[in-house]
Amino acid sequence: MNSEELDELIEGFRDGTLEDAQVARLDQLLAEHPEALDRFVDRAMLQADLQFKLGRPPAAPAMTRRPAKKSLFGVAAAAAAVLIGIVSLTGGPTAPETAPAPSYEGCAVLTRALDSTWDPTSPVPALGSVLPKRRLSLASGSIQMEFFSGARVILEGPADFELISTNEGLCRHGKLRAFVPPQAQGFTVRTPTITLVDRGTEFGLRADRGGESEVHVFQGRVELRSGGSSENLGVGRAVQIDARGAVQEIEPDPEAFLTLTELNLRSAEEARGRFARWGTASDRLRHDPRVAVYYSFEDAPSWSRELRCQRPERSPVDGAIIGARWTEGRWSGKKALEFKCPGDRVRFQDAGEYESLTLMTWVRVDGIERPFNGLMMTDGWVSGSVHWQITQNGKLKLGIHGDKIAHDYDTDVVFQPANLGRWIHLCTVYDRAAREVVHYIDGRVSCRLPLKFDTVLRLGNVELGNWGVPLQGNVYAVRHLNGRMDEFAVFGMALPEREIRELYDIGAPAP
């Protein structure tokens, strides 16, 4: 008896993946070889030990009927014994270990960006991302920051603004308008010469590089601290403070500061423009002969359960939407699918064989709480399989299965709590000629990894946002994408860096 063969049958039996002939083979081994039977029983006991130690322990049996009078202690005592027994059997080492809650540093969320450009020295925060304590240098355009405290700041470039805490900022120079609800009272903005402490209001601040500043109070009250003195400014007041701290009354000018309404109207207009430009580029993409599979997620009514394939002349068929719901994409009016439940997915098929491949998608990843979070996964895990997913520790992963060999090409950590929930452009190139895998995040190279082996890639049955259909009786881990997807493409070749950058630029939801 070959113990390796027996073990393989035992594992397959556990997974429910055995064919009838294999079950018969297992039966035969157990009947004919006493040592196989011994090993089978040993493995069964070990399996129970491991299940108790590591797995989810089975629930205690339901005691639905009172036992007959034979019991000396009665039901209560029996129940107590059950409790004691359960605790001693399943307590302690089998209790699930609680991982430390993930943490991040943040002060505010960047919720609007209008024509914004950033100084080369400045970090470039993405729309929708959490802003940690950091100094931002806005070269031009406007942004809206929503502080965790509830205060909202519209900053107009050029501006140098540093986030100090969830309720405080330092404006070295630039123009801003702050809206402060009662729950954020005490919101503070400093400049190199003055300090403004909000007392429930709306105000404008202009700080010049020379140290001169202006404060305009549109509503409520602001406490102005300058030098050693402090003064309350009421609604309708406006003052100018020179570099030495001298305060002088000026004419209030609400028009000089961008309002929330203006910002919203103008950024909505800007978004419409971007959406339209993307639409033109998307039309070009669907006629690009290098594109093997393309889903723009457009041209579908919201009740549709088909994801319209944009390359009908090619082999890929319309995707079947399972579970996932239609929702809003990168822009207002752009369609997207939302994957939330473990069953959610889109299944499609492609008959192509590829030596090189480029995978491209726009996704909004809302969470990475599972070990694996599928982006595009071919069914099974066999020669030619392509598995594109995000790991729990935040890495983008391309798994390639060759002939008797498999390898994962991982990025460093890309997804962190602070950048979840925003639209991100992911692109991965499997380049056989250059013998490398290149991952791109938002149009920029994230990493280049040397190819481990050659293989022909085959898609076959493919899923977006999930992996595979469990075989009968087989339990699969939950591995759906938690988030939204609003564009997906496969190119049957290695797309050059320049074009990937262009795809990002034309599709970016905001500058």
Binding site: E4, D15, A48, K53, G85, I86, W381
Partner: protein, 165 residues
Amino acid sequence: MRVYLEHQRRIYGLILALVPNGPDADDILQETGAVLWQKFDEFDPATNFAAWSLRIARYQVMAYYTTKRRQKARLSDETLDAVVERMAVRSPREDVRAAALDGCLEGLPEPDRQLIELRYRGGASVEEVARQSGKTVVAAYKALHRAHERLLQCMRGKLAPGSAM
């Protein structure tokens, strides 16, 4: 019912050996517990509780085979009998087995331990184990075989010499 709890692990072992992993196995254990509870008067204390309870578990497994007609091929009755018989003579002191397993898991090389964790804590299928550890499915079967072999050897060594596991 304390006697049941003392034998619970063995009963679970039998069920896990005969039914694919998953909620069904847990259901069968539940039902077996309930039947044992109902029929406890019929149990003759002079006889072997292990053999009696395993027989009942076996009937529950067979009932499952019957109701779940999807299971086309299954182990023969003779094999089920042989497994039950063999299992009934295993000495299953819960605490002794648990302590032995703790020691054996600690001594397991790290890659093997990770596979065992994936398989049992993560509840991963072999295909999943392969996927998550960057191996081919064939390599995953081999690696799981090696890890289990190490654990079995170690458990045999730790449990009283001469007595079966």
